[in-house]
C-alpha cells in the first residue's frame, strides 16, 4: 500500500467525523434564513468549543484504554473557581486564570496518582473523584453567581477582525499548544502504545505509570480550560450537577463519533473536536428544521449508535471467536 493510503487509514476516523460535520453545516446554512454570517458562526463556535475541549480532555485517557468520568465535574469546578477569581485588574485576572488551570491540573494529577498507585480502574476512580470535585464546586458556589472579567469575556466570546469567532481561535490555540506537541512527544506516543497493548508496552520498557499520570493530569488541565471558557460565556459560575454530568457523557459520545476506539490505541483529539461539533450541530439543525427540541436526544443517540457500529466492523473478520473477549 502507498504511503498516502496509510496516512488516510490512520486518520479515517477524524476525516469521517469532519465530513459529517461539514455535511451538517452545509445543510444548516442551506436551510437557515440568515445563511452563514459572523453572528451565526460565533454562536455555533461558542456552543461547540466548550464541548470540543472537554471532548479533547476525554480523548487522552480513552486513548490509553481508560476513561475519565470526572471531566465534567472538573469543568464545573473550574467554572465556579473562575467566577470568583478571574475578575479585577488584568494582573488579578491573570493570576486567577493560572490558579484555575493549576486546579484542573491538580484534579487530573490526583486521578492519575490514584489510578496508578492505587491500581484502581479509571472508571470507578474518576466516578468517585468527580463527586469530590463537584462537592468542592458546590462548596465554593452554593448558589449560582459570581462574576468574571467583562473585557476579557467580551473579547473571547466575540469576533476577531474579519468576523472569525474568537472562540475558534482559542480552540486552535489549545490544539497547537497542547494537542500537537503532545501527539508528537515521546510521552504521547507512549500513551498510544499503552492503549494499544499494555503488556507489549511493558515489555518494550515504556514507563506506563508515568504515562498515565501525565495523561490524566493533562485531561484535568483541558477540562479546566473549558470550564474557564464557560465562565466567559455565562459571566457567572454555577455548580450544576446536570451540566457536569451532561458534559461528561457528551464528551464520551464526541470521542466515539470522532473515531477514537474505546479500547484504546487508535484515534485523535482532532476527531473528538469534530465529534463534539457534530453533536452540537444536531441541536441547531432541529431548530432550523422547526422540530421540537425534544427530539434532540433521540437524534444524538442515533448518530452515536451509527458511530459505534462503524467500530464494530472489525468483529466481522474474527477467526477465533475467543478473541472477542480479549
Amino acid at each position: 500500500m502507498s504511503t498516502f493510503r496509510y496516512r488516510l487509514m490512520e486518520h479515517r476516523g477524524t476525516l469521517l467525523a469532519a465530513a459529517v460535520f461539514l455535511a451538517l453545516l452545509i445543510f444548516y446554512i442551506a436551510n437557515s434564513h440568515s445563511g452563514l454570517n459572523a453572528a451565526v458562526a460565533t454562536t455555533i463556535a461558542n456552543k461547540g468549543v466548550l464541548l470540543a475541549i472537554v471532548a479533547m480532555a476525554q480523548t487522552l485517557p480513552i486513548l490509553t484504554a481508560g476513561l475519565d468520568l470526572s471531566v465534567g465535574m472538573v469543568f464545573v469546578l473550574a467554572n465556579c473557581l473562575a467566577s470568583a477569581l478571574v475578575v479585577g485588574s488584568p494582573l488579578q485576572t491573570a493570576f486567577g486564570i493560572v490558579v484555575v488551570l493549576l486546579a484542573g491540573l491538580l484534579c487530573g494529577l490526583v486521578n492519575g496518582l490514584i489510578i496508578v498507585f492505587g491500581r484502581l480502574q479509571p472508571i470507578i476512580t474518576t466516578l468517585a473523584t468527580g463527586a469530590v470535585y463537584f462537592g468542592l464546586a458546590l462548596w465554593l458556589r452554593p448558589v449560582p453567581g459570581g462574576d468574571v472579567n467583562g473585557d476579557l469575556a467580551d473579547a473571547l466570546t466575540g469576533q476577531l477582525p474579519g468576523g472569525i469567532p474568537a472562540m475558534l481561535a482559542v480552540l486552535l490555540a489549545v490544539v497547537f499548544l497542547i494537542w500537537v506537541p503532545y501527539r508528537n512527544s515521546v510521552l504521547g506516543r507512549a500513551a498510544y502504545a499503552v492503549g494499544s497493548s499494555e503488556p507489549a508496552s511493558y515489555m518494550s520498557g515504556i514507563p506506563i505509570g508515568r504515562v498515565k499520570i501525565v495523561v490524566y493530569s493533562l485531561s484535568g488541565l483541558l477540562a479546566a480550560i473549558a470550564g474557564l471558557l464557560l465562565t466567559f460565556v455565562t459571566y457567572s459560575g454555577e455548580a450544576s450537577a446536570s451540566i457536569g454530568g451532561t458534559y461528561t457523557l457528551n464528551s464520551i459520545a464526541s470521542v466515539v463519533i470522532g473515531g477514537t476506539s474505546l479500547m484504546g490505541g487508535f484515534g485523535s483529539a482532532i476527531g473528538s473536536i469534530f465529534g463534539a461539533f457534530v453533536l452540537r450541530s444536531i441541536e441547531d439543525l432541529l431548530f432550523v428544521m422547526d422540530l421540537d427540541p425534544l427530539w434532540q436526544p433521540l437524534f444524538q443517540g442515533v448518530i452515536l449508535l451509527i458511530a459505534v457500529s462503524l467500530g464494530a466492523f472489525r468483529l466481522l473478520r474474527m477467526s477465533n471467536r475467543l478473541d472477542l473477549f480479549h
Partner: protein, 524 residues
C-alpha cells in the same frame, strides 16, 4: 567493526549467570543454574517443555526476578527489575509476537523505546529512516514503515519484532522460538542476519525446537532439564541422539492406572477429522477417536494442539476440512452447539482461572453452569435438583471443600480443576477434550484425575488429552499424536509410546535413529 570475537572463546563471557533459582508456587522452574555465553557466538538452548528455558530468558529480559543467584553482564553484576532495565543494559529479547502494539505503525513500534527527537518532539522522518534501516538489516525491506502492525500477517510481524530488537543495537540478542511463525524464505534471511551479527561481535542466545536450525547456526549448545542446566558443549560435539538423551530422563513421580488391552474392533470412530486446516496453525490434521479410548496430543507447546481442541469445540472460524461425529458431518459453530450436538462435547480449558471458572462465585454455581438445563424447568433453577447434582459430582470427584457455597477461589488448584471437570461431566459428554489439565496441580490430585479419565473411558467416553508432560502421555494414553508446526508428524500407539519417541517426534526427528544411539553422527 569490532574484533571478531570468535577467537575469544576462552575470554571472559559477556553474560555469566551463577546459581540462579526460581520457584513458581510449587514448581521449581530453575534450580541453581549456571549459564554463560560469549560475544561473537550463537548459543543454542535446548530442552523439552518445562525444562526452564523460558524462565531463564524471562529473567534476562527483566520479566521475572530470580529468587537466588547472580548475573554478571559485561563484567558487572546486574539486576533487571523491569524490562526497561534489561533493554538499557543492552539485552534485546525477541518474543513470539509479544511486544508489538497492534494499532501503532511499524516505525512507531520499532522506535518505541527511544524515538529520534528534534527539539524534544518525535522526528517522524528520522524515525521512518531508522525503521527502514532496521527492516533492511533484518532482511524485511518489503515492509512499509507506515503500515499499522495489525495489518501485517503473522510472519511479517515477527520480522518487525526482529527489526525492533536490532534497532536497539544490543550486545546480547535473545531469540525465543522467534522463527516458528516465519516462512522458509524469511528464516533464510534471518539466518544470514544472525550470522552477520555474530561476525559483528554480538552474543546471541537462540532457543528453537528445530534441530536443523540449531545445527546450522549454533556455536555452543546448552541443554536444560527439569529446571537444571545439564550440559554445555560445542555444536557438533554430540549427535542429535546424544542431545535427546540429555533432554530426557525425568523421573516419573506418579503412578498411572493400568491401560486395558486395546480392543481389536473395527468399530466406527466416534470422532473423525480429515485434513483440517486453520490459519497456518493447523495443517492437514486427520485423527480418529473411538469410544473407550484416550488419545494423547504430544509435541512441544504451541504446535497446534490447542487449536485442534478449539476447532472441535467450535470457537474457530473458517476451519477447512471435515469433522465427523458418529459418522455424521458436523460444523461446530460454537461451544453451545458442540455441547448440545448429537454427542455432547466438553472442553476442559487450559486456564481454569479465566476460561474454566467464575472464581468469585460459589462451587455450587460453578458446577451447574454448563448444565443449567439439567437442573431447571421452565427457566427456573430447581434448588433440589441442583443440590442433588452438586452432591453427586462432589462425591464422584472427591472435591475437597468446606461447603458448596464456598467461592471457587477458596479452593486449591487441584480442587478447582476438579470443579471444572465436574461441571462438564454433569452433561454426560461422549467426547471429552482436555487442554493440559494437570498443569500446576499437586501430585495427589493428578493421580485422582488419571484414575478418573480411565474410568470415564471405560464407561464409554472418548477422550482427547493434550499434555505438556510426556510422562502423562505415556502413562495415560492409548495412542499419542505428536504435533509439530501445526501437523501431526507421528502417531504412536501402545508400547511404542516412549519418552524417546515422544521427544524425537516433538523435534520432528526420525524415531528409529534413537535405538541405542547406534548411528552416531547420522544427523549432522
Amino acid at each position: 567493526m569490532k574484533n571478531p570475537a570468535r577467537t575469544k572463546r576462552d575470554a571472559e563471557p559477556i553474560l555469566q549467570m551463577t546459581g540462579i533459582s526460581k520457584r513458581f508456587g510449587g514448581v521449581q522452574a530453575l534450580d541453581g543454574v549456571d549459564f554463560a555465553c560469549h560475544s561473537g557466538r550463537i548459543h543454542a538452548v535446548l530442552g523439552e517443555n518445562g525444562a526452564g528455558k523460558s524462565t531463564l530468558i524471562k529473567i534476562l529480559a527483566g520479566v521475572v526476578q530470580p529468587d537466588e543467584g547472580r548475573i554478571l553482564f559485561g563484567g558487572k553484576e546486574m539486576r533487571f527489575p523491569r524490562p526497561s532495565d534489561a533493554v538499557a543494559a543492552g539485552i534485546a529479547t525477541i518474543f513470539q509476537e509479544l511486544s508489538l502494539m497492534p494499532h501503532l505503525s511499524v516505525a512507531d513500534n520499532i522506535c518505541i523505546t527511544d524515538p529520534p527527537r528534534k527539539w524534544g518532539f518525535i522526528d517522524g522522518r528520522a524515525q521512518r529512516r531508522i525503521a527502514a534501516e532496521a527492516l533492511a538489516r533484518a532482511g524485511a525491506d518489503d515492509i512499509n514503515p507506515l503500515a499499522p502492525v495489525s495489518s501485517l500477517p503473522l510472519s511479517r510481524r515477527q520480522m518487525v519484532e526482529i527489526a525492533k530488537a536490532l534497532a536497539r543495537n544490543p550486545q546480547l540478542l535473545i531469540l525465543d522460538e522467534a522463527t516458528s511463525a516465519l516462512t522458509a524464505a524469511d528464516v533464510t534471511r534471518v539466518f544470514e542476519v544472525l550470522k552477520r551479527l555474530r561476525e559483528e561481535g554480538l552474543a546471541i542466545i537462540y532457543i528453537s525446537h528445530r534441530m536443523a536450525e540449531i545445527a546450522e547456526l549454533a556455536d555452543d549448545c546448552s541443554v536444560f532439564r527439569n529446571g537444571r542446566h545439564v550440559a554445555t558443549f560445542k555444536a557438533g560435539e554430540k549427535t542429535d541422539n546424544q542431545v535427546i538423551e540429555l533432554m530426557i530422563g525425568r523421573e516419573a513421580s506418579h503412578a498411572f492406572p493400568p491401560k486395558p488391552p486395546r480392543p481389536e474392533t473395527e468399530a466406527a470412530p466416534v470422532l473423525e477429522t480429515s485434513h483440517l486446516d486453520w490459519e497456518n496453525r493447523l495443517k492437514d490434521v486427520t485423527i480418529k477417536l473411538h469410544r473407550g479410548e484416550i488419545l494423547g496430543l504430544g509435541g512441544l507447546d504451541g504446535q497446534g494442539q490447542m487449536e485442534l481442541l478449539l476447532a472441535l469445540f467450535g470457537t474457530l472460524e473458517s476451519v477447512r476440512g471435515e469433522i465427523r461425529i458418529d459418522g455424521r458431518r458436523v460444523r461446530p459453530a460454537s461451544p453451545k452447539a458442540a455441547k448440545n450436538g448429537p454427542l455432547g462435547i466438553a472442553l476442559i480449558p487450559e486456564d481454569r482461572k479465566t476460561d474454566g471458572l467464575m472464581l468469585p462465585m460459589s462451587v455450587r454455581d460453578n458446577l451447574t453452569f454448563a448444565a443449567l438445563d439439567k437442573v431447571s424447568s421452565g427457566g427456573v433453577i430447581s434448588p433440589a435438583a441442583e443440590t442433588a447434582a452438586v452432591d453427586e459430582m462432589v462425591r464422584l470427584l472427591g472435591i475437597r471443600m468446606g461447603s458448596a457455597e464456598d467461592t471457587a477461589n477458596t479452593l486449591s488448584g487441584g480442587n478447582q480443576q476438579k470443579v471444572v471437570i465436574a461441571k462438564w461431566l454433569l452433561n454426560k459428554p461422549a467426547i471429552i477434550l482436555l487442554n493440559d489439565p494437570t498443569r500446576g496441580i499437586d501430585v495427589g490430585t493428578k493421580q485422582e484425575l488419571y484414575q478418573l479419565l480411565r474410568k470415564l473411558a471405560d464407561d464409554g467416553a472418548a477422550i482427547i488429552l493434550y499434555s505438556t508432560d510426556y510422562y502423562e502421555l505415556i502413562g495415560c494414553c492409548d495412542r499419542v499424536a505428536v504435533f509439530y508446526d501445526g501437523r501431526i508428524v507421528r502417531e504412536l500407539a501402545g508400547p511404542a509410546i516412549t519418552e524417546q519417541a515422544l521427544v524425537a517426534s516433538a523435534f520432528n526427528m526420525p524415531v528409529e535413529e534413537l535405538d541405542g544411539a547406534a548411528i552416531p553422527g547420522a544427523h549432522s
